[in-house]
């Protein structure tokens, strides 16, 4: 189905601070060292009846809110349900900009299970400060950048698996070594690797950097033949691309590696929560650096609870 006939359920704000959360809402956020995850005092002053819950600790297994000593376990439906229950009847907003995937993904899953209105917020960076396309010959140190493959909390899949019935869908970013590493670990069947690249990108030139950075593994696996595209800052566009892939590979377990943009990772999580198909998310847990991005660009609000969910409880 053409993208034009599918709803994108997104509001865009060219200036991030033009967005004002709806009254009677809870906004969960976290600060990374990146500038775009920080809220200015002027901006917050314009919020009316909005509770801001800032996650101070983003540990591997638990989180802790600013001003609280209580640890909330990420592999605990009970504790995550209680976390959202304390928000009362308010609208739930999750700003994923400064949150790691292993934090926002289980929080989102639990938020959607409440049946309340849930919106996800994301602020694009103005630019990436690192070399966007590591050239061949530049050594990319994974040990400084990832902690290794492990399931996202709440998304472990132990479903039976027939190795030949796997379709591997990497959502590509600039860093081809991460893609190569995942290929080595997942070892998908040849011919069933369907990469997705963000097009249009946050900036017009970004898709080219993505191609360039991933040239080696794309060429070796011949996966370049299967590349698909989804709007880089749109989880819904990604979700629809995944739905199309799922229908093209009707018998396969979809192993999705969300190593590209955060909105794409959000789309992958939404797909895992809405589909009746067997899905496994494969993630390498990057170590974020303060120097990764600079500035703020557009802010996007995704109305994720408008989708129908099958496996959030």
């Amino acid at each position: 189905m053409a993208l034009l006939s599918r709803p994108l359920l997104t509001r865009k704000f060219e200036n991030a601070e033009d967005f004002i959360p709806p009254p009677r809402s809870v906004l969960v956020t976290g600060h990374s060292p990146e500038e775009r995850s920080k809220y200015t005092c002027d901006w917050i002053a314009r919020f009316v009846d909005v509770s801001i819950w800032t996650i101070a600790d983003q540990m591997q297994a638990h989180i802790r809110l600013e001003g609280s000593s209580q640890e909330i376990q990420l592999r605990s439906q009970k504790q995550l349900t209680a976390f959202w229950a304390s928000a009362g009847r308010r609208t739930l907003l999750i700003d994923i900009t400064g949150l790691a995937h292993h934090v926002w993904a289980p929080l989102l899953k639990a938020a959607l299970a409440t049946g309340r209105q849930v919106q996800v917020i994301y602020t694009e960076p103005f630019d990436y400060t690192f070399s966007k396309a590591p050239k061949e010959g530049e050594i990319f140190d994974l040990s400084e950048r990832i902690t290794g493959i492990a399931p996202l909390p709440g998304f472990t899949s132990l479903a039976e698996e027939d190795e030949d019935r796997v379709c591997f869908v990497p959502l590509l970013g600039f860093e081809g070594t991460r893609f190569a590493y995942l290929l080595e670990e997942v070892q998908p069947p040849g011919g069933k690797i369907v990469p997705i690249i963000g097009v249009p990108g946050f900036r017009p030139e970004y898709p080219f950097h993505t191609f360039q950075g991933n040239t080696l593994p794309l060429r070796q696996t011949v996966a370049w033949k299967n590349i698909r595209f989804a709007i880089a800052n749109c989880p819904f566009s990604l979700l629809y691309a995944l739905e199309d892939i799922a229908s093209d590979y009707p018998l396969d377990l979809l192993k999705i590696a969300p190593i590209g943009t955060k909105p794409h990772a959000l789309g992958a999580v939404l797909f895992a929560l809405t589909t009746s198909r067997r899905v496994e998310l494969v993630y390498d847990h990057p170590i974020r650096k303060s120097t990764r991005t600079s500035g703020k660009n557009r802010l996007l609000v995704y109305h994720v609870s408008a989708l129908t969910f099958s496996s959030v409880s």
Binding site: S76, I149, L158, T177, G190
Partner: protein, 632 residues
């Protein structure tokens, strides 16, 4: 019809068994150690990436045996054994760790998961067996009940109920792991407990009487340490009914004990260790590899493709190679210079000698700082000693002929050379072969013509380059391995190019004893182990009897698949001494460490990089000088 390149890429290009899938059964050639795997004893197959472990284990699976038999139901019934293949999946096994529950609880959880996994593999096999043979397999209701009870499932009276209950149990267990911090009670099973009743029930059925059952566990290194101990325990206590065949990378079997820390798995009492590289002598590997390549060539539908791979890839003798590297004009210059120093009779003798030997005279003259006439007169009076010396240096001389020039500076050609460069690794050998054939075809040639030495060399350089680039993505520590290989490769390249007055063909290293502190020892040891595991380095026992846990007892060789990229000898020859601090320095401060190691060996670090290595210029720092234009 597919083009020549497509056919070659299809048949040879899928170097990984994982990518070949069904085709591996067709293309499979039995290695010499294969019969050892067919016994009822546990086996541990140890080998680097690309040594064929996955192919062998897949072939032992019931699907592999079926495909090899020509998909014959009769062959399934008559099989001596049935193997269940499982590749350890990192994304699943890493779910079983974390601070939410204690280590002991994780042991119990993973043991239960393993029970579900192994039993599910057997039940799926039974389904498959019934489907392929049309024979019904009826597990007695009592056995189904016993199995269900031991897995903590609801009661089951037959196979269908059992399969359904198992799937449900898996879904429930998945939900439990996803909420493991909730502290809910999980219905777990005792480690290995369901396997006994299951196999006893199978052994009691007429169709499986006297059959063996193998669990084929591949990529054992992906298991966490405690998980290896759990499987080790199963291996230790596996008996007459079922056994384990394990595939693991060298040094990937980190834990040798069972869950009882005092109980080791011992070879040969508890299992048979099959080290792929030790079980195939170089000659046997060459024969095996030739068979593999020829059987693939035979499947090509191309003119002239019925040839033998050895004859398609001719080699060069040292003298032929020297000719191609421009020895003739160098020899002419030497003769011209000698003419003014030697008598006509001496010149007459000199004119009959091979040009490379003349070059050796010049080489020695430079090293010894004496007159050419002295060297030649010494040669004429001590011919035997000189011939021995020449034999030692002959190959090493080739690296110096085009020192600092552009273009090919050293040839890597011939089947035997490729076999040595692959160092027992079939995947690397296939890469060298396919790349040579592709370069050849792209040059407008066909397979009735032999592949030129130039094309083979370019192919070997590009395979080296590809594998250096790939090291980064092989593991989380791939960047350190890349830096280590780039550092060592550069050192051996300079030693090879600047050989005059030095020991020839130094291309290995060993570790100095007592030179490092404990921290460097530990960190360096880890780095070297990872390098061996991911085939950045090859190690061989040194002169002393070795303890496999001691990194110092080995000689280390940069994997020879990289030698054409760096331009050092593919023949394992002489070695230099390094400290662990220097090994670590190649990763942390490469430029300074390379300079220091070269200085210790009386070389300078301003030797030009080979053209193909220039892309790693940023690692080496800005190249101090680049290759000069052809000039001989």
């Amino acid at each position: 019809m597919q083009t020549a390149e497509e056919q070659i890429s299809d048949l040879f290009g899928s170097f990984k068994a994982e990518w070949l899938r069904e085709k591996i059964y067709e293309l499979f050639k039995e290695p010499k150690y294969f019969p050892e795997l067919l016994t009822g004893r546990p086996c541990v197959l140890v080998g680097g990436r690309g040594t064929g472990k996955t192919s062998v284990l897949r072939l032992l699976s019931y699907e592999g045996q079926f495909a090899r038999s020509g998909r014959s139901p009769q062959a399934i019934r008559g099989a001596r054994f049935y193997g269940f293949y499982y590749r350890v999946d990192t994304n699943r096994v890493t779910a079983f760790r974390g601070p939410e529950i204690t280590d002991d609880q994780w042991v119990r959880h993973f043991a239960h998961y393993l029970n579900l996994l192994l039993c599910d593999m057997v039940l799926r096999f039974i389904e498959w067996y019934q489907l392929q043979t049309g024979d019904a397999v009826l597990l007695p209701p009592a056995a189904c009940e016993e199995l269900a009870t031991s897995l903590n499932l609801d009661p089951c009276a037959n196979l269908i109920e059992l399969t359904k209950a198992m799937r449900l149990a898996r879904v429930r267990f998945e939900a439990h792991i996803n909420n493991v911090a909730d502290g809910r009670h999980a219905a777990l099973s005792l480690q290995g407990a369901p396997l006994e009743p299951l196999f006893e029930a199978l052994a009691g059925l007429e169709c499986f009487r006297g059959k063996m059952f193998f669990f084929l566990i591949d990529e054992y290194e992906n298991l966490l340490d405690y998980q290896q101990q759990i499987v080790n325990t199963l291996i230790k206590h596996s008996g007459a009914l079922y056994t384990f065949k394990i595939g693991v990378k060298e040094l990937g079997w980190r834990r040798r004990t069972t869950l009882n820390e005092n109980e080791q798995l011992i070879n040969p009492a508890d299992y048979v260790r099959i080290d792929v590289s030790e079980h195939l002598s170089p000659a046997e590997f060459a024969g095996f590899a030739q068979e593999v390549c020829n059987s693939r060539i035979a499947q090509l539908d191309l003119p002239g493709s019925s040839g033998d791979i050895r004859s398609l890839l001719p080699s060069l003798s040292d003298d032929e190679e020297a000719e191609r590297l421009g020895i003739r004009s160098i020899a002419d210059k030497i003769l011209k210079q000698a003419g003014s120093e030697l008598s006509p009779i001496e010149m007459q003798v000199l004119n009959t000698l091979p040009p490379l030997l003349l070059y050796f005279f010049e080489f020695r003259r430079t090293a010894d700082q004496v007159a050419l006439s002295t060297i030649i007169r010494d040669y004429l009076s001590n011919k035997q000693t000189w011939d021995t010396n020449y034999g030692n240096y002959k190959h090493a001389l080739l690296f110096t002929l085009r020192r600092g020039k552009r273009g090919i500076r050293k040839y890597y050609a011939g089947w035997d050379t490729f076999v040595l460069m692959a160092a027992g690794n079939i995947r690397y050998l296939l890469e060298l072969v396919v790349q040579s054939l592709l370069v050849h075809l792209r040059g407008g040639m066909n397979l009735s013509e032999v592949v030129s030495a130039d094309d083979q060399t370019r192919a070997a350089q590009s395979v080296g380059r590809k594998n250096v680039s790939e090291l980064e993505g092989l593991s989380v520590h791939g960047a350190q391995l890349t830096k280590l290989v780039l550092g060592l490769g550069r050192i051996f390249q300079v030693l090879a190019a600047d050989a005059a007055g030095h020991t020839p063909e130094v291309n290995q290293f060993y570790l100095a004893v007592g030179a490092d502190d404990a921290e460097d020892e530990a960190r360096g040891g880890e780095l070297l182990n990872a390098a061996v595991m991911h085939l950045a380095l090859v190690r061989t026992p040194g002169n002393k009897l070795v303890d496999t846990a001691d990194t110092r007892e080995f000689d280390y060789f940069v994997h020879p698949v990289f030698c054409a990229f760096f331009e050092f000898s593919h023949r394992r020859k002489r070695k230099l001494q390094l400290t662990m601090r220097q090994v670590l320095g190649l990763v942390k401060e490469p430029r300074e460490t390379i300079r220091q190691i070269l200085a210790t060996n009386n070389r300078r670090s301003n030797e030009p990089l080979p053209e193909q290595a220039l892309l790693f210029g940023s690692y080496y720092g800005a190249p101090e000088s680049s290759p000069t234009d052809p000039e001989i």
